[in-house]
């Protein structure tokens, strides 16, 4: 049924294990990535990262296995073997996708000073390693703005996966964004204690929507499936009711489709692909920013607010988002990243 061009590409991977004869001479630079649990088809940042790496590879005339590749982890314990295998296969730059790989990537980077490493979503500390992070709080702030404009009940919901500093960043930005537009808006925050518990996500969403919340922003991976499910169910029963979900990491428009409607208001998109491509190019050109932390935000095209649902994201909302985006870029607004900062932020409103 659905599935974009990327998916079809993926579908072929199974068969070219022997590696088709490559038309072009491979250059002497190569890059690879290790996924966290989920794999390159997780419809989330693993997939996004792989798309970036693939785009880079194709730009430079490589094919999978020749110049770029990935190793999939099905379990935490597989990070080290995967990273290590890629080192031994003499890749010049190796990405670890996701904060889960932090410890292991750090270890491998220390052990292999001649190889370059990059960690997405967390920091490593090594001269041969670069940290790639995103300003999720800013993206979340902007979708908060969108939600504040869209809500008719002035009640919003936030569903987090595991209560952690990273997810708190999403929460903080979202609350700040919504309250900036309208300080009277109430925001209910729930954590599912898991990134894979759709049932829990559905129960939380059901409770939230019952309590008059009309827009839920989720930063909870697979748990979010349950949120979408519940929203679509309500929509199915009552097509006139305005119920929305805000997606995370990538554009979750597809997940929101229900008949002629779509409950995905927008998504806070992390352009991991952009970041991966960017860093790989730098490394290839001998400008590897070793030891640095790269923060991808609005300026770097690392954060985006999806507007695929053009019916829901009206001109007016897009303009409002744009307005706040400018304010942030101008430094007029300092978006909070923790709960304490958020409290202070709200008090200052």
């Amino acid at each position: 049924a659905c599935g974009g061009a990327e998916d079809e590409d993926n579908a072929n991977e199974g068969n070219n294990g022997d590696g088709a004869a490559n038309e072009e001479e491979a250059g002497d630079f190569s890059a690879a990535m290790v996924t966290d649990i989920g794999g390159v088809d997780d419809k989330s940042f693993n997939q996004s990262a792989w798309e970036g790496l693939k785009a880079w590879g194709e730009e430079n005339g490589f094919s999978k296995g020749e110049g770029f590749d990935y190793a999939q982890s099905n379990d935490k314990s597989e990070y080290i073997p995967n990273l290590s295998r890629l080192v031994r296969d003499e890749y010049d730059l190796i990405f670890g996708i996701g904060f889960e790989l932090k410890e292991d990537l750090q270890k491998i980077a220390d052990q292999n000073p001649d190889t370059n490493f990059a960690l997405v979503d967390d920091m490593i500390d090594a001269p041969n390693g670069v940290s790639i992070t995103f300003k999720e709080h800013i993206g979340s702030f902007l979708v908060g703005v969108a939600a504040a404009h869209k809500t008719s009940t002035n009640k919003l919901g936030f569903v987090g996966g595991i209560d952690s500093p990273l997810i708190n960043k999403f929460e903080s930005g979202f609350i700040a964004g919504a309250k900036s537009v309208n300080p009277d808006i109430e925001i209910e925050v729930e954590y599912a204690a898991s990134f894979g518990d759709a049932a829990k996500g559905k129960i939380i969403a059901s409770t939230m929507y019952d309590n008059g919340i009309d827009i839920i922003y989720h930063a909870s991976g697979g748990t979010g499936n349950g949120v979408f499910n519940q929203a679509k169910d309500i929509k199915q029963n009552d097509p006139d009711r305005d119920i929305w979900v805000i997606g995370v990491d990538r554009d979750q428009y597809e997940e929101g489709a229900i008949g002629d409607h779509n409950v995905t208001l927008t998504s806070m998109v992390k352009r991991v692909d952009v970041a991966v491509q960017e860093v790989t190019n730098q490394a290839m050109n001998g400008e590897f920013p070793g030891g640095k932390t790269l923060e991808f935000g609005l300026e770097e095209d690392g954060i985006d607010v999806a507007t695929t649902n053009s019916e829901a994201m009206t001109e007016e909302i897009i303009n409002a988002v744009q307005e706040w985006e400018d304010k942030i870029l101008d430094g007029e607004v300092e978006v909070p990243q923790t709960r304490e900062e958020t409290e202070a932020f709200i008090d200052a409103l």
Binding site: E13, G65, A71, N74, R85, R88, I162, A193, F195, G196
Partner: protein
């Protein structure tokens, strides 16, 4: 007859493994993969070089211990589905000690290991106590305790061991089982001294069960509680003891992960599966400690080698899970294999 049984005892697992691999190959053929390539890459993935060998051994270590945890409880008629939760609390306790205490290695490391075992033992004590005193089915209690261990441990990691972070700091070197020497031998694999502990634990289990009055009582209670009571044994005590020791083994498995492989503990979104794999290991090992070691080696090799199959042959790693499941089936249905073997033997005799 007994000599025959011994022979069967060895032949059945071997034939099962072979059958499992054959069926696995058939599945690959049907789904359009090349089984020879796949098994070659599986082999390379497990034994290809020093690194993979080291990683394979690392993977075997906790499997031996959870296998023992299930096998030990089985010996006294108890089914320990709770190894999973016992691993988690053992891991937590070991890392906690590794982080919180400042002591020379000679004290710190044993203390951390023992605390892991004690935590696991405590997690086995609860279902043991409920079974012995109130007769609550241990299967259901251990299932529930798995979840309780998972969620509680996550909460402790986040709010006690760290400040809302998902991974703890690295344990002090004095509590670490990791060894630079082993790592340098194996090109930075995470092989650690835990394998010695695991093998030692198997010897301990064998000695306990086969050579001591404790084992005599535990087995008797497992076979026949009425007769055990009649013979003056304390049935409740033995049920509890069995679960505590079983939990202790699983707790050790957790300690191996915490002190050896990772040096940290992270918030887990799901189970480690070490406990569930332990069930399979125990079964394939016929609940015999040395059988458990062999079974753990087999599963460790298959699982470690599987990582190489997608890149090496385009075969999804799950094929190995299918093969392991099939092997378990064949072992469990050894009746069939025995029957066939007997047939062959009869033909041969004629």
């Amino acid at each position: 007859m007994t000599a025959n049984n011994k022979l069967f005892g060895i032949l059945v697992p071997i034939i099962s493994v072979i059958l499992g691999l054959i069926v696995g190959a058939i599945i690959m053929l049907i789904s359009g993969h090349n089984p020879i390539e796949a098994y070659a890459s599986l082999w390379a993935g497990a034994f290809g070089d020093a690194f993979t060998l080291g990683e394979t051994i690392r993977r075997i270590t906790p499997l031996i211990l959870t296998g023992l945890a299930v096998a030990f409880a089985f010996k006294s008629g108890l089914f320990n589905i709770g190894a999973e939760g016992q691993v988690i609390v053992g891991w937590l306790a070991a890392v906690w000690v590794g982080l919180a205490i400042d002591a020379p290695m000679i004290i710190h490391l044993p203390l951390a290991i023992i605390m892991g075992a004690i935590a696991g033992g405590l997690w086995g004590f609860i279902p043991g106590l409920l079974k012995a005193k109130i007769g609550v089915h241990e299967v259901i209690v251990t299932i529930m305790l798995n979840y309780i261990a998972l969620f509680s441990t996550n909460a402790i990691i986040r709010s006690v061991l760290t400040e809302q972070s998902t991974t703890t700091d690295h344990i002090a070197p004095t509590a670490s089982l990791a060894s630079e020497w082993l790592q340098s031998l194996t090109y930075f694999s995470r092989m650690h001294y835990g394998i010695l502990i695991a093998v030692f634990a198997a010897v301990i289990m064998w000695f306990l069960i086969e050579r001591t009055t404790i084992g005599y009582e535990l087995k008797a209670v497992g076979f026949n509680q009425h007769a055990s009571k009649y013979a003056g044994m304390n049935v409740s005590k033995n049920i509890i003891l069995s679960m505590v020791i079983a939990g202790g083994f699983a707790g050790l498995a957790g300690a191996m992960e915490g002190l050896g492989t990772y040096g940290t503990i992270s918030v887990m979104s799901g189970f480690t599966n070490l406990g569930f794999d332990g069930i399979a290991v125990a079964l394939l090992g016929a609940n015999n400690p040395f059988g458990v070691i062999l079974a753990a080696i087999l599963f460790g090799v298959l699982k470690e080698g599987a990582g190489e199959m997608p890149t090496g042959a385009g075969v999804p790693t799950e094929l190995v899970d299918i093969i392991i499941a099939l092997i378990i089936f064949f072992v469990a249905s050894s009746y069939l294999i025995r029957w066939i073997l007997l047939r062959f033997k009869k033909e041969g005799d004629k």
